[in-house]
């Protein structure tokens, strides 16, 4: 986050981490806040984070950024970064402009009907035409949601999870009551976000 300048997508990159890990951090924060030994600056920061992370509006914001991160930021970043390797499939530097047009078109769709942001099919297939046309992108997409795994912290058995698949599930079909309660605010924020691009 310390890196600024042109890397504004760091905001979107940060959101999934906070969205998924906030409960673990709550537990730690509450234990620190109850501890008799407290440093004033840490206490203030924790109280600030505590207020923020229990706010429906902030959770809705996190959920929106996370949805945008996996639905549009990841494929667009991949396309921009891998352009030089996609000549074989007829993809070149100029083709990236089409991705921008597609994004705009989808955002206009969200402005017309903001509830689409909750539609997994719509959001995750924003760039499906490129995923179908470019086998390396298809491979990356499959890797991300079907193969990419990480080991659970603290799991002695070495159990792993498909972290992006789990994240996707928590975004579009949240099992957590607090996350699910942000639907209304999320739709409202999605319209505001989409208006910026449409």
């Amino acid at each position: 986050v310390g890196v600024q300048g042109l890397r504004h997508d760091l905001c979107l990159m940060d959101a999934p981490t906070i969205y998924m890990n906030r409960y673990v951090c709550f537990d730690y924060a509450s234990s620190v806040l109850q501890s008799p030994k407290k440093q004033e600056n840490i206490l203030l920061r924790l109280r600030c984070l505590f207020v923020l992370m229990t706010s429906n509006e902030i959770i809705a914001q996190l959920r929106l950024y996370t949805i945008l991160y996996i639905s549009f930021c990841l494929p667009m970043r991949w396309l921009a970064a891998k352009t030089q390797e996609l000549r074989e499939w007829g993809w070149g530097t100029i083709s990236n402009g089409d991705a921008i047009d597609t994004l705009r078109e989808k955002m206009m769709g969200i402005v017309d009907d903001p509830t689409k942001v909750l539609d997994e099919g719509f959001m995750m297939n924003m760039f499906s035409k490129y995923i179908d046309a470019l086998p390396p992108l298809q491979e990356y997409w499959d890797h991300l949601f079907k193969k990419k795994q990480m080991r659970l912290i603290g799991a002695e058995s070495g159990a792993t999870v498909l972290q992006f698949a789990q994240l996707r599930k928590q975004l579009f079909h949240p099992s957590d009551v607090t996350n699910a309660a942000t639907d209304e605010r999320l739709v409202e924020l999605a319209k505001v976000a989409a208006q910026e691009n449409s």
């Binding site: 986050v1 999934p16 906070i18 920061r45 990480m150 603290g154 924020l189």
Partner: protein, 168 residues
């Protein structure tokens, strides 16, 4: 400044040409049998970009001006393009600002009831920074591991960015 950047670009290409020339001289002196394998410097010329080359910059005014000047200097057919990493980030920046302002208005009443010394804000960049500082502490990391282990790891972590310091 823009003109300086353009001249710097040409100078950079010329300096590469000069380096190759020096390499040729060294190889000719020390390894004459390999001299033929060093490419000729004649092929290094900025004018080659005029044969359907492409100049890609970010979309700020200064960069666009530099791009136009460079295009003029090269001549021929040169395409111009905005950097797509930059375009993506420009939209994200605009969106983030817009949402922060929007939320600031929506929760303004609640914010008034929160002690100002807590510095609670809706600006996401500030939230992310506070979160990053929180996770960056070694003490926090050790403690978080303890918390997770105690709770049988009911939550997994996402390792998609630098913020996920406690990834496996």
């Amino acid at each position: 400044v823009t003109l300086l950047k353009i001249n710097h670009f040409s100078a950079k290409i010329n300096s590469l040409k000069e380096r190759l020339l020096q390499l040729q001289q060294v190889v000719l002196r020390d390894y004459p049998q390999l001299h033929e394998s060093i490419p000729s410097t004649d092929g290094i010329n900025i004018k080659k970009l005029g044969q359907h080359g492409l100049i890609m910059t970010n979309s700020c005014n200064a960069a666009q001006k530099a791009r136009r000047l460079l295009q003029h200097k090269i001549g021929g057919t040169v395409f111009e393009l905005d950097c797509h990493h930059h375009l993506r980030n420009v939209w994200i920046q605009g969106m983030e600002k817009l949402i922060s302002v929007y939320l600031q208005v929506v929760v303004s009443d609640s914010l008034e009831n929160i002690a100002p010394e807590l510095r609670v804000t809706c600006i996401f960049l500030a939230i992310a920074r506070a979160w990053d500082i929180f996770l960056a502490s070694t003490e926090t990391m050790g403690a978080l591991r303890g918390v997770v282990e105690g709770e049988k790891a009911r939550i997994s972590t996402i390792s998609c960015c630098g913020c996920a310091r406690f990834e496996a």
